[in-house]
Symmetry: C2
Subunit: 163 residues, 2 copies
């Protein structure tokens, strides 16, 4: 009686997620053509500006993306003159990422650009429903990441302890 129904539900959820992913992606492209930065680039830049002195691997953990992905994004951000790589003197394996004044400016100028699509969508819902959605999603994340342990680099929320 239930397997069919359960299966339908899964498909519904998965379909919704794919469409949300797509909407986020399309928004990212539009952002890129308007502001010159994609969402992942802006997320990384924000991370770099927020945490004062982060290495590449720290950013990796902060934004939940793999090292090779971040390397590419940092390449593009550096090419745009929004941050610079700085090899650590004490440990020459590490690369610190420092935002340029222009980079800081960009982050300041686009405070919640990234969230706009969501922000607008979410604001149209009742407050308790908003909380409901947030908690539901977090439950899904916990379950999904728990299943394949190696797929979850950081379960700890990113703490911004820096100076």
């Amino acid at each position: 009686m239930s397997p069919r129904v359960a299966s339908r539900l899964e498909i519904r959820v998965l379909c919704s997620l794919r469409r949300i992913i797509r909407a986020v992606d399309i928004y990212s492209r539009r952002l890129n053509s308007q502001v010159g930065l994609t969402s992942p680039q802006l997320i990384c830049l924000q991370s770099v500006v927020r945490g004062k002195r982060l290495t590449l691997s720290m950013v990796t953990k902060d934004v939940s993306l793999s090292g090779s992905t971040i390397t590419g994004i940092v390449d593009r951000l550096e090419a745009k003159g929004l941050l610079v790589r700085e090899r650590s003197r004490t440990d020459r394996r590490k690369v610190y990422l420092k935002p340029t004044p222009a980079g800081v400016e960009v982050v300041k100028a686009s405070p919640s650009l990234l969230q706009d699509t969501f922000a607008n969508a979410l604001r149209k819902l009742a407050e308790d429903e908003q909380i409901n959605i947030a908690e539901s999603l977090e439950r899904i994340v916990a379950l999904m990441e728990a299943e394949d342990i190696e797929a979850s680099p950081n379960l700890i929320p990113p703490t911004a302890t820096d100076v």
Copy 2:
């Protein structure tokens, strides 16, 4: 009173979504190395098998992906011998996609492979919570796709009318 809280909520939701996207992607890669098919490939193949005689653009609408993306995925599915392209005689612009016996077999053999990560995650929740999540996500989709109209090719949920 609320803007700070609201903003935090948006970040929470967005962060969750990014991690879900990532988990889905990682699962897709594992699927690829185990079964030889990625999630998008399986989704497309399922669509082709389900809808008996679909053109490429029909699949586009069915799975909510752009034409160029589908072209690439179909290339790979064809290379694997799971479907064939068949130019329409009546309208030579159209390309029909026909699953091969092997393709049909693959879809039958992997009934809910794609959904497994979700299925397992979802099944651990109470049933009313499952429904809650599904509906919440659908509400988000509706809101997001409503904002940029051109970004939503099909608002109609894919009907699974099959034998």
